[in-house]
């Protein structure tokens, strides 16, 4: 058969590689900065640089910009070679690259100015969500185009991981982005309360699974054998790894919501599947590590293998820890603490970071047809990164466990031993040590930056790399007794459809009953929609990212009900769009902030927002002086009320025209209450709305009790 000559596109790989390095540095720098803010709250400079706005910037940059570009770099390199074909369309590659970078820039602008949806890792506003959808389709189109015109009959296992990634991320993104816009930039979630929480953590956990894990497993299955120059330990195991991983992962989301108001059966499903996940995950890790069987001596000299070994080991540790954290009894002590922060950083810094660095050091010299500038610098990078992970994770584990023990400690007289503030100040040295770990890790990245810069300078990009292969014979009749999996291996579209079915099962079984069966979310008659001022205040709470540090979900433990009041019920959140249960308690829970012994005066809140440490000495909360001078934008009130009504919140028809009058009446009441304490502030300031929201928190349930007593 005639052999065809064609060229691999290395320019697109180079572009994504540069973007990976650049955004990696930016994302990690943002991470280091927010880490330092927890030690030195005065680093919260201006509203655009406050913790609540920058922390989402850090997480989005690391996940979607650093790892995202890393995925595309690895996919564009390996897919072409595994398919023995150039990418389907250079134009699509180009649109994909620049589209993705524009999305990142848009995120970097909108998040600091406070445009957010308030859902973790899905913060980006609806126009950006739309752009992501388009660019993702472009990526998929380009990928499937390449697979279809390939010259290699078989689809190597890495490609299956890429296909599953594409299809699942598409489903996750579309479902999570369900929202009703009320302006050109902002929107409310379709879902509310418990349902929003379930959708959020189904999405959130599978973003970890199908953005940070499956594509990187694909990279592992390609680049680790390449770097070790030997085939993967067991190809059979990789098949089992693939199917069981995607089959189980999609169910695991509810483990983020244990002991919350989520229906118990959904929690239990989440626990069971999370626990089972240990098997495919460890299967994959073992497959990766055993690829090096008989070649471990090379790990001593080969820095690329060193990076990859640590990456796969970190994957193993994180995927052992994950199922453990999903057990209800472990979640009871670990949830809301810095333990989880340690856990995710073992994954991000260890698994994603180290594998990315390994691939970069392997790939850059190859596409530039040269040798790596300095092996020694790469080795230094390796040790800095490894030590950085240890210096990061160990203090955070220590801090997390200590934090939890302190929250739950009672005196002999049966009272809580520590105030929340005492637990916060106790954390500070650990936060400082963690920053040191981050600094070491980042220093390594800068060394890599220099090393790769020098490597690129001494080489020359082979933009179009020549290759030869025989074309695939199109007519292919199935012969008798053919192995079942061969059929799938030849047919990417079928593989995609089967993957889609497999991942949809879990999502549907968990979500549909929560949406359809009324008794899953028992209603509470005293729970009423927010007043216009409270609604505006709530949106400011979302804008400032308060949910990043404050939960609004009291679990049914004595240590929590003593501290925060009655535990949270599903019916309390029916008008919450988005839900604001949070996932971390850097500050105390706020679910009952407006009631009981937690209730503070309006003046207390005013002074606290102006300078938190003046009311709570040693507080690490950012100050919000700008809310005392910024006017509340009441022009959006009518649109917000209308949108909420369309989404099922029972505001009366025509209420939107009266809403601002009610808003001003309530604002004036707070203004007068502040005046009695000697604080002069106009009623139309943002802080007034936020105080109104604070005072509302938890009130519905108290009203219910008063009503019951009156009867």
């Amino acid at each position: 058969m005639q052999v065809e000559k064609f060229y691999y596109d290395n320019r697109i790989v180079k572009n994504f590689a540069y973007a990976t390095i650049l955004w990696g540095a930016v994302g990690m720098l943002a991470g280091l900065w927010v880490a330092l803010q927890l030690v030195f709250p005065q680093l919260n400079i201006t509203q655009y640089g406050s913790f609540g706005r920058l922390r989402p910037l850090h997480t989005n940059a690391v996940i979607f910009a650093f790892v995202g570009n890393g995925i595309f770099m690895g996919v564009y390199y390996s897919l072409q070679r595994l398919c023995k074909a150039r990418m389907f369309s250079d134009k699509l590659s180009y649109i994909h690259f620049w589209g993705w970078q524009l999305i990142i820039v848009a995120a970097a602008i909108t998040l600091p100015i406070g445009l957010t949806q308030g859902a973790e890792y899905a913060e980006l506003i609806w126009p950006i969500d739309l752009a992501i959808t388009i660019i993702w389709v472009v990526f998929g189109w380009n990928m499937f185009g390449t697979i279809i015109k390939r010259r290699e009959k078989h689809l190597y296992v890495a490609i299956w991981f890429y296909i599953a990634t594409f299809v699942t991320v598409a489903v996750l993104h579309i479902v999570r982005s369900g929202q009703l816009p009320y302006s050109w930039l902002q929107s409310y979630s379709w879902y509310s309360g418990v349902q929003d929480a379930l959708v959020q953590w189904w999405y959130g956990h599978n973003a970890v699974a199908f953005f940070l894990t499956t594509p990187y497993l694909g990279l592992m299955y390609y680049f680790l054998p390449k770097a070790a120059n030997r085939p993967v330990y067991s190809y059979r195991l990789s098949i089992i790894h693939f199917w069981s991983l995607i089959f189980l992962y999609i169910w695991a989301g509810p483990h983020h919501l244990l002991y919350t108001a989520l229906p118990n059966w959904a929690q239990s499903l989440g626990v069971v599947f999370s626990f089972m996940l240990i098997f495919p995950s460890w299967g994959g890790m073992i497959n990766g590590l055993l690829t090096l069987r008989g070649a471990w001596d090379r790990v001593r000299d080969d820095v690329i293998l060193k990076f990859m070994v640590v990456a796969v080991t970190a994957y193993g540790m994180a995927t052992f820890e994950g199922p453990m954290l999903s057990l209800k009894s472990v979640s009871a002590i670990s949830h809301y603490t810095d333990w989880i922060i340690a856990h995710v950083h073992v994954g991000a810094l260890g698994w994603n970071g180290m594998l990315t660095f390994g691939v970069l050091y392997w790939l850059i010299p190859r596409i530039f047809k040269t040798n790596l500038y300095s092996k020694k610098l790469a080795a230094n990078h390796f040790w800095l990164a490894t030590l950085g992970i240890l210096f990061y994770a160990i203090p955070m584990y220590w801090a997390g466990i200590q934090q939890s023990l302190m929250w739950k400690q009672f005196t002999e007289a049966g009272q809580l031993k520590y105030t929340f503030l005492e637990t916060v100040t106790y954390m500070k040295p650990f936060y400082a040590m963690r920053s040191l770990g981050g600094t070491l890790y980042l220093a390594g990245v800068f060394i890599m930056f220099y090393n790769i810069y020098k490597t690129v300078k001494q080489g020359k990009l082979v933009a179009n790399e020549e290759a030869e292969a025989a074309p695939l014979v199109k007519e292919y009749s199935k012969h008798k007794g053919e192995h079942w999996h061969r059929v799938i291996e030849r047919r990417p579209i079928q593989l995609m459809i089967i993957s889609l079915v497999v991942i949809l099962i879990g999502g549907i079984i968990e979500m549909v009953p929560t949406f359809m069966i009324k008794s899953n979310v028992p209603t509470i008659s005293s729970v009423k929609p927010y007043s216009p001022l409270e609604l505006q205040g709530r949106d400011i709470y979302v804008r400032e990212g308060c949910y990043v540090c404050h939960s609004q979900m009291i679990r049914p433990f004595r240590s929590e009900t003593e501290r925060y009041g009655e535990y949270s019920k599903a019916g309390e959140f029916v008008y919450d769009k988005p839900f604001l249960w949070g996932s971390k308690r850097t500050g105390p829970d706020l679910a009952r902030e407006g009631t009981g012994n937690l209730k503070k005066s309006d003046a207390w809140h005013f002074r606290h927002f102006r300078e938190p440490s003046s009311m709570s000495e040693g507080s690490v909360m950012p100050a919000y002086p700008f809310m005392l001078t910024q006017n509340l934008d009441t022009s959006s009130t009518a649109a917000k009320i209308n949108a909420m009504r369309s989404l099922g919140v029972p505001y009366e028809k025509g209420y939107e025209s009266q809403a601002n009058t009610d808003l001003m009446i309530q604002a004036n009441m707070i203004r007068s209450s502040l005046k009695t304490e000697g604080i002069e502030v106009p009623a139309n300031r943002e802080v007034i709305a936020l105080i109104a929201y604070m005072q509302r928190l938890g009130k519905d349930i108290t009203n219910n009790k008063t009503a019951t007593t009156n009867q």
Binding site: Y8, S78, R81, L82, K84, E152, H154, Y156, V157, A158, Y221, Y222, P225, K226, N229, R230, P231, V232, Y235, R236, I239, I240, W243, S244, F247, P263, N264, W265, S268, D302, V303, I304, W362, P365, R366, I367, K369, T370, N371, L372, K375, E465, E466, A467, H483, W484, H485, R486, E489, P513, I517, S519, N520
Partner: protein
């Protein structure tokens, strides 16, 4: 163990068959997967696992 689902599930007709169906789907999915993988021919496995290692034009060693 299923007490907490019962109150919702009781309202569905013939609900007792659901857990059996799901167990069956799970069990057969993994059994079929294992059997098929076990039955794969050795040469095929070798061919597949060597796919990334085929000469793709970029063989210059870097380290």
């Amino acid at each position: 163990m299923f007490k907490f689902i019962k109150q919702y599930a009781e309202k569905i007709d013939h609900v007792d068959i659901y857990p059996m169906i799901s167990l069956f789907i799970f069990f057969s999915f993994f059994i079929v997967l294992l059997v098929m993988v076990k039955k794969m021919k050795k040469e095929r496995v070798q061919l597949l696992s060597n796919l990334p290692l085929e000469n793709d034009g970029s063989t210059n060693s870097t380290l």
